[in-house]
Symmetry: C2
Subunit: 455 residues, 2 copies
């Protein structure tokens, strides 16, 4: 028997639930199983739950990584029927009812009676994975810290650069993708250059920094109502962001990117700092599930599930969140949470003898995105709010979320102070990052992240 079975302290008669992923879907499923007569194992390849909607604030120096990434085991520490394991799931064996966990220097198998797969999604480069080194995505803490180093590092380099063309390239920031993440990032970088970095440099005024937001579609925030899309675009442009719509990125390299407009014209922009927020690809576990169950997988790799979020032919296996394809629901944290809770409640119901099927019903609580400090767009049902009132609503919702995790008082306080203040308190660049960037520029053809030994 595999090693991890040995530390499974569960009574053999208890129903075993394995949850893959500690994002919104997995975490909310685990919490909803509180008090249920089950033994829960949560597996994630990081030690933290990530409050992804605020990831862009880590990348732009407002918050520290700890502020938005509390350890999963700490959040769940009072829930005695849950254990949390750090590791990567590399296989799911539906016939044997086991998942294969790779952790430390070995593999182990963990048995389940019910399985909730909440493995989420990663950035998609639409077949151009070679873009990744030059334009990292924005899905993990590693991504955000990498981007933080690149953004603040770019301003450092601009101060050192005497060739004007190169200085301009250091001060040009390209954000690919006009969804909430792209919009919020572009807005924050613009604010950074216009306000937070004032008087920090002697060789240039940071206000001259260019922030370019590129999207292939007709609007930013395409999933929002028309009036808010227009408002968001106007607010971004007022902040100084250049919004390029109907524009496809055809090439990305370490020094810039190539774009193609609808009229076929091609342009190049020299930009040393680029972010990819254009699309997502569901976890490879989706394809693995589909292969074994015959379920369909859509273009983004999401698994088509039955109305109750279960895998066709495997009612003990649930797929939730960004990995789930159901009723064209969008990849929002709110969908992940609600589908995770639905899966958990279904398991608890069945254990009580209620085995009837109940379809997952998504309750749309609205969507929101901040453009800048004191300005956000909010869409709830038929209500549309923009500007300061929208921002206050955004603030209240995010504060409520953060405080939802017990004892997060300090984080909330920290966040409020940091966010209301003009300054960016988290601007640290590591020596490793400086070294890696320098190397990358010296040898553009080498892999971009050839890190030196640490410590």
């Amino acid at each position: 028997m595999a090693a991890l079975e040995d530390i499974d302290q569960s009574d053999a008669r208890r129903h075993r639930v394995v949850i893959i992923g500690a994002g919104f879907g997995g975490l909310f499923a685990a919490r909803a199983l509180r008090g249920a007569p089950v033994d829960v194992t949560v597996i994630d390849r990081t030690n933290h739950h990530l409050f992804q909607p605020l990831l862009y604030q880590v990348a732009t120096g407002v918050l520290s990584e700890g502020d938005i990434a509390p350890p999963t085991r700490d959040i769940l520490r009072h829930q005695k029927n849950v254990r949390v394991l750090l590791g990567e799931v590399v296989g799911i064996d539906l016939a044997a009812h086991e998942v294969v966990l790779e952790t430390l220097d070995r593999q182990s198998r963990i048995a389940f009676d019910s399985l909730i797969v909440a493995a989420g999604a990663a950035p998609s480069y639409f077949g151009h994975d070679e873009f990744a080194a030059s334009a990292p995505g924005m899905k993990t803490i590693d991504d955000a810290l990498e981007l933080r180093g690149r953004i603040f590092g770019a301003f450092e380099m601009a101060e050192l650069e005497s060739e004007l063309e190169r200085r301009d390239a250091w001060l040009t920031f390209a954000v690919v993708g006009g969804g909430p993440t792209g919009v919020e990032l572009a807005g924050q970088i613009a604010e950074l250059s216009r306000r937070a970095l004032k008087r920090n440099y002697r060789a240039f005024n940071p206000r001259i920094a260019r922030v370019i937001l590129i999207d292939a579609g007709d609007a930013v925030l395409a999933t929002f109502p028309e009036s808010l899309r227009r408002r968001a675009r106007r607010d971004l442009e007022r902040l100084g962001v250049e919004v390029r719509l109907g524009t496809v990125v055809t090439g990305v390299d370490i020094e810039g990117l190539d774009m193609k407009s609808r009229d076929g014209s091609v342009r190049r922009v020299e930009a040393y700092t680029k972010v990819w927020a254009a699309g997502v690809q569901a976890s490879a576990l989706g394809a693995m599930l589909a292969e074994q169950s015959g379920a369909e997988v859509d273009r983004a790799g999401r698994v088509q599930v039955l109305p109750d979020c279960t895998l066709p032919g495997h009612r003990e296996v649930f797929v939730v969140g960004d990995l789930m394809s159901l009723n064209r629901l969008p990849g929002l944290s709110e969908v992940a949470m609600q589908s995770g809770v639905h899966a958990a409640r279904t398991i608890a119901r069945r254990l009580k003898g209620d085995t009837g099927e109940r379809a997952f019903r998504y309750r749309d609580l609205g969507t929101m995105a901040t453009i800048s400090r004191f300005s956000a767009v909010v869409s709830i049902g038929r209500i549309r709010v923009a500007g300061f009132v929208g921002w206050v609503m955004w603030l209240v919702v995010h504060l409520a979320f953060l405080t939802g995790f017990k004892n997060r008082f300090a984080a909330v306080l920290n966040w409020a102070v940091a966010f209301l203040g003009r300054r960016r308190r988290q601007r640290t660049i590591t020596e490793q990052q400086v070294f890696a960037r320098t190397r990358a520029l010296e040898q553009p053809e080498a892999p971009a992240a050839a890190f030196p030994p640490a410590g």
Copy 2:
């Protein structure tokens, strides 16, 4: 002429001061030149000033890196006669009055009329640099983040480990060196395991973690008065730290370390997490200065200076802080600050026509070290304080320091809340760290930090 001269906006008639290093010595020198008729260039290889006395709190999850590492240029942003450059000084040409800066992908030369060398020190492994990969030092933000990943990662791995011997090795933490850094780290790791991580694990109780503090001498905090040394040792042992004095570390590898007692007996401890806080080696710039000036260098690489902190035969060159050897002054932040200020004032005095020599006089403001929350030892002149009162004094001094930097209100508030609370808010491990550790264990003979591509 080199590139960086082009962005030197200084009036040619102004006296040019170059400061190497933005630690306590360099930063306080730059600040003391406020209002002087000089153009100051501060060069550092990181973007931040580091409040090193609290580095151990980053390593143990109390504070974020941003809390103790404000950007140097932000601290100095209102001081218009200062520019800050990110880069590494790889040469000093005393005859030509130039320093050679390596930055971006090229070298440049920067001319000075006066030079303040405050390049500090790095960990010393006393000829065993191969220890570094297994036992990182504690001098930089990179070190602290690396150690943070290793400490919290070790508890994660212990939760996964079924072989008892290996689990014990994951839960054994060895700190080499009983000075303030070693004592504070050992105390914090013990507190972590006894209090902050309560209820976080299912396979073991974190209280069983072993923390071993090793020192070759007869006491911890050897520079403190006898009564405080004993008190510190007693407090550490009460916390659960095993204090091994008179013990020399003779070998360090990825799985543990070898120790030799005074009686010649040899022991091995299996400990996957080790920190090196045993000694320092001054920057290599010291030897470079000595070679060109004929000054002496002591065993730790520090440059013997004249009583006014200048290099023999080069009264325009000052050596301050940890790189300076003068009157057996210890390597304390207080010495660095005061010598940096002395150098700056000497330059300002000379420009006013007062060229008389004035010796540097160190004003001993005392030393202090925290053992645990609510307990510290403090020595000021003849006063000796230990326990809670000592801790309050420690707190007041450190708060005063942090608030010394304008607008650090948020950091102080954050710190107070974090430090008074039981929880550790900054426990993030990056995926890169998890990956690197796993690889290192799989291939113990390979370099320990073969990082995967980021982003």
